[in-house]
C-alpha cells in the first residue's frame, strides 16, 4: 500500500542522477596518484565542499527516515538530537580540536591515539572502528533494499547487489573525492526532495497553527510542541527523559563522542586543503544541521495528521516520509525525491566504506602487517580493501535480511565502544600527564561501564514511564537509558584514566608536540607565515553565531 506510482519521467530523473554518480567517480579518478589522494583526497578540498560533505555523511536515509519517525512519535523534543546533540559538538570540533587533528598531520583518528598513547590503545580503537564501519555499511544497504522493495517493488537481493555495485564503482574509482563529491551533490538533491513535502504538507494542514491545532487531537497531544517540557528530574514526562540525561548524556558525552571522534566525520575535515578550511568544515556543516529539523520533524508531524493509522501495525513511523511522497508528489517531483532518498542511502554506506578503507590501510595494514612499502603499494591496498569492505557489507545485509534483530544487537554493541571515546580524547588533548597505558585502560573501563549501565538500567524503575517498573521491560525509555549509559561510560573512563595515569609513566613531553594543549609542535609552520582567513570566515565567529542561533531557536521552541 506504500507502493509509489513511478512513471518513465521519474525513471529518467533517477537515471540521470545515477549516471552522474558514476561519472563523478570516473572523473575523480584522474586526480589520484598517491594513497593519500585516494584515502584523503590529497588534502586539497575547499571548505564549502568538505563542510557540506561533513553534514551529508551523517544525513543518510536511516537518519532522515528515523528523525521523521521520532518527530511523529515524540514531537518537538526530537530537536534535541540536532540543537543540543550536534551543533555544540561541531563547534567544539572546529574551534578547539581541529588544530590537534589537522595540525599534527595525522591521517586518521586512530593514528592520533597511536601518537598520543600507544599501539594497544591504537589497535583497540582502529579495530572496533573498522568493524563497526563495515557492519553499519551493511545495515544501510539492508535498509535501502527494504525501502526499494516497499516503494518500487524490486526484490531485496537485487537492490542490495545493484546499489552496492554503484557505491563500489564510485569509491574504488574516485576514492574519498568520489565519495565526498557525491555527498555534496546528494545534499542538494535530498533538500530539493524534502522541501516540497514540507510546503505542500503545511499548506494542506493550514500552516503551522493549523498543524498545532490538529496535533492536539492526536495521541501526541499539545505536549508535542514543547521540546523542554517535562524534563524535571524525579518525575520526567518528556519522551527523552530528564534534563540530566539530555544535557550531559546526549548533549555532552554522546554528541561530542560522535562528532569529534568518529572518523567517518573527522575524515571529511582532514581532506580539507589547509587548517583554516579544516576548522571551518564542521562549522559550515553546523548551519544546515540547525535547520534540517524543519525538513524531518515537520514532515513527521504532518504525516501523523494526514496519514491514517501511522504508527500502527501496517504503516510504521519510519514510513512517514515515503507515505507523504506517495500522497502529495506528482511524477517529476516524485522522481527527484526518490533520487534524494536513494542517494542518501548510498551516502550512508559510502561514508562508512570510505573511512573503513583508510583506517584499515593506514592503521592496520601499514602499521602492523606490511610496513615500509612504496606508496603505490598502499594505494593498491586501499582499492582492494574498498572492494573487500563492500563485500562484507553485502554479506552483512544478507544476514540482516534473515535475522533483522542481529542489526539491533550489533548497533548496541558498538554503542558501548563509542560511549567513552570523548573522555579519552579530552584528557589526551588537555592533560599532558595522561599516560600511554591510561589510554587503553580508560577506553576499556568506559566500554564496560556503558554495558553495565545498560543491563542494570532494565531493572531500575526510574527509566520507565511514570517511573514505574515494568516486568516485561517493554515500555522502558531506551533513549534515556542510552543517555545514562553514556554518562556512566564517561565517568568510568575519566576516573580510570586519571588513576592509571598517576600510577604509570607519562610520555616524554618531546613526543607530544602538536598533540596536546600547550605543548609546542616544533614542526608547525611559523604562525606569522600562515595566511589568515578573512574576518567573516574566522572559526570563532562562525562557531559563535551557530551557537547563538541554536540558543534563540531553543528558547522559541522551548
Amino acid at each position: 500500500m506504500l507502493r509509489l506510482h513511478v512513471n518513465p519521467f521519474d525513471y529518467t530523473i533517477l537515471g540521470i542522477y545515477f549516471a552522474l554518480v558514476i561519472a563523478i567517480g570516473v572523473i575523480a579518478r584522474r586526480a589520484i596518484a598517491t594513497s593519500e589522494d585516494f584515502l584523503l583526497s590529497g588534502r586539497s578540498l575547499p571548505a564549502w565542499v568538505t563542510g557540506l560533505a561533513f553534514i551529508s555523511a551523517n544525513l543518510g536515509a536511516i537518519e532522515i527516515l528515523g528523525m521523521a519517525a521520532n518527530g511523529a512519535q515524540y514531537g518537538l523534543p526530537t530537536v534535541h538530537f540536532y540543537w543540543i546533540g550536534a551543533v555544540p559538538a561541531m563547534v567544539f570540533l572546529g574551534v578547539v580540536m581541529m588544530p590537534f587533528y589537522y595540525g599534527s598531520r595525522v591521517r586518521s583518528v586512530p593514528e592520533f591515539l597511536l601518537r598520543r598513547f600507544n599501539p594497544a590503545t591504537h589497535l583497540f580503537n582502529a579495530l572496533t572502528f573498522a568493524l563497526a564501519a563495515v557492519l553499519i555499511a551493511g545495515v544501510n544497504l539492508y535498509a535501502l533494499a527494504l525501502v526499494i522493495h516497499a516503494l518500487i517493488g524490486w526484490p531485496t537481493w537485487l537492490s542490495i547487489v545493484v546499489s552496492a555495485l554503484f557505491v563500489l564503482a564510485y569509491i574504488t574509482l574516485g576514492g574519498l573525492s568520489g565519495a565526498i563529491y557525491n555527498e555534496v551533490l546528494q545534499f542538494f538533491v535530498i533538500i530539493a526532495g524534502l522541501v516540497p513535502l514540507v510546503i505542500i504538507g503545511l499548506h494542506s494542514v493550514g500552516g503551522w497553527s493549523g498543524l498545532q491545532a490538529k496535533i492536539d487531537h492526536t495521541k501526541l497531544g499539545a505536549g508535542a510542541f514543547s521540546s523542554w517540557g517535562g524534563v524535571g528530574t524525579g518525575h520526567w514526562t518528556n519522551p527523552l527523559g530528564d534534563w540530566i540525561g539530555i544535557v550531559f548524556g546526549l548533549g555532552f558525552v554522546l554528541s561530542f563522542g560522535y562528532w569529534t571522534t568518529n572518523f567517518a566525520e573527522v575524515q571529511r575535515a582532514l581532506s580539507a586543503k589547509d587548517l583554516s578550511a579544516a576548522q571551518r568544515t564542521p562549522l559550515i556543516g553546523a548551519y544546515p544541521k540547525i535547520f534540517i529539523p524543519a525538513l524531518t520533524i515537520i514532515p513527521g508531524l504532518i504525516a501523523l495528521v494526514v496519514v491514517p493509522k501511522l504508527g500502527g501495525a501496517n504503516i510504521s513511523y519510519n514510513d512517514a516520509i515515503p507515505a507523504l511522497m506517495g500522497k502529495y508528489l506528482p511524477n517529476g517531483a516524485l522522481g527527484v525525491a526518490l533520487a534524494g532518498l536513494l542517494a542518501a542511502f548510498m551516502a550512508g554506506m559510502a561514508a562508512n566504506v570510505s573511512s573503513f578503507n583508510t583506517v584499515f590501510t593506514y592503521d592496520i595494514w601499514q602499521t602492523y602487517i606490511r610496513k615500509g612499502r612504496r606508496d603505490r603499494y598502499y594505494l593498491r591496498v586501499g582499492r582492494v580493501v574498498t572492494v573487500v569492505g563492500i563485500l562484507i557489507g553485502i554479506g552483512t545485509a544478507f544476514i540482516a535480511s534473515g535475522y533483522s534483530n542481529i542489526m539491533n544487537y550489533i548497533q548496541l554493541l558498538f554503542s558501548f565502544f563509542n560511549a567513552p571515546l570523548f573522555a579519552t580524547f579530552i584528557l589526551a588533548m588537555f592533560w599532558k600527564r595522561s599516560t600511554p597505558w591510561a589510554g587503553i585502560a580508560g577506553l576499556a573501563a568506559g566500554t564496560i561501564g556503558a554495558a553495565a549501565m545498560h543491563f542494570a538500567g532494565y531493572h531500575i524503575g526510574y527509566f520507565y514511564p511514570h517511573q514505574v517498573y515494568d516486568h516485561t521491560h517493554a515500555t522502558i525509555n531506551a533513549q534515556m537509558l542510552n543517555f545514562y549509559g553514556a554518562i556512566t561510560a564517561f565517568v568510568a573512563d575519566l576516573v580510570v584514566t586519571v588513576i592509571v595515569s598517576l600510577l604509570t609513566k607519562p610520555k616524554p613531553v618531546a613526543e607530544l608536540g602538536g598533540l596536546v594543549w600547550g605543548v609546542h609542535d616544533p614542526n608547525a609552520p611559523d604562525p606569522a607565515s600562515v595566511p589568515k582567513p578573512p574576518w567573516w570566515a574566522s572559526p570563532k565567529l562562525l562557531g559563535g553565531v551557530a551557537l547563538f542561533l541554536v540558543l534563540v531557536l531553543s528558547i522559541i521552541f522551548a
Binding site: 599534527s104 555534496v184 506528482p330
Partner: protein, 107 residues
C-alpha cells in the same frame, strides 16, 4: 591510471590538483532538472494538481532548481579555480611519514 611520472623518487607526486570543479556538475544537474520540471509544470494534469493540494509543485520546484543551478554555474564561471602553485610539496616537514600532498598553498 597511475600514469603520473614517478620521477624515480620514493613518494610520487599528488595529483589532487587535477580534481575537477564540483560547481560545474551541481550547476549542470540542477539546470537540467530545473528545465525538465518547469516544462512538466506547464502540463500538470488537474488530478496531479489536486494531489499536491492545488500547488503546481513541479513548476515551482523546477524554477527553484533552475535558480540554484544557474547560481552555481555563475559562481563557477565568475570565480574559477586557480591552479596557481599546485604544490611541489611545499617543504612539508611533516612529522608523519609519507604525507606527500602539499597544503595547497594555504589559499
Amino acid at each position: 591510471m597511475s600514469d603520473v611520472p614517478d620521477t624515480g623518487a620514493e613518494a610520487p607526486q599528488s595529483a589532487a590538483a587535477r580534481l575537477f570543479d564540483l560547481r560545474s556538475l551541481i550547476g549542470g544537474l540542477f539546470v537540467l532538472y530545473g528545465i525538465m520540471l518547469t516544462v512538466a509544470g506547464f502540463f500538470t494534469s488537474p488530478k496531479n494538481l489536486a494531489k499536491a493540494d492545488n500547488i503546481n509543485i513541479n513548476l515551482w520546484m523546477g524554477l527553484g532548481m533552475l535558480v540554484l543551478g544557474v547560481s552555481f554555474v555563475l559562481w563557477w564561471r565568475l570565480r574559477p579555480l586557480r591552479h596557481e602553485q599546485s604544490p611541489p610539496d611545499a617543504t612539508g616537514p611533516s612529522a608523519t611519514g609519507p604525507s606527500a600532498a602539499g597544503t595547497g598553498g594555504g589559499r
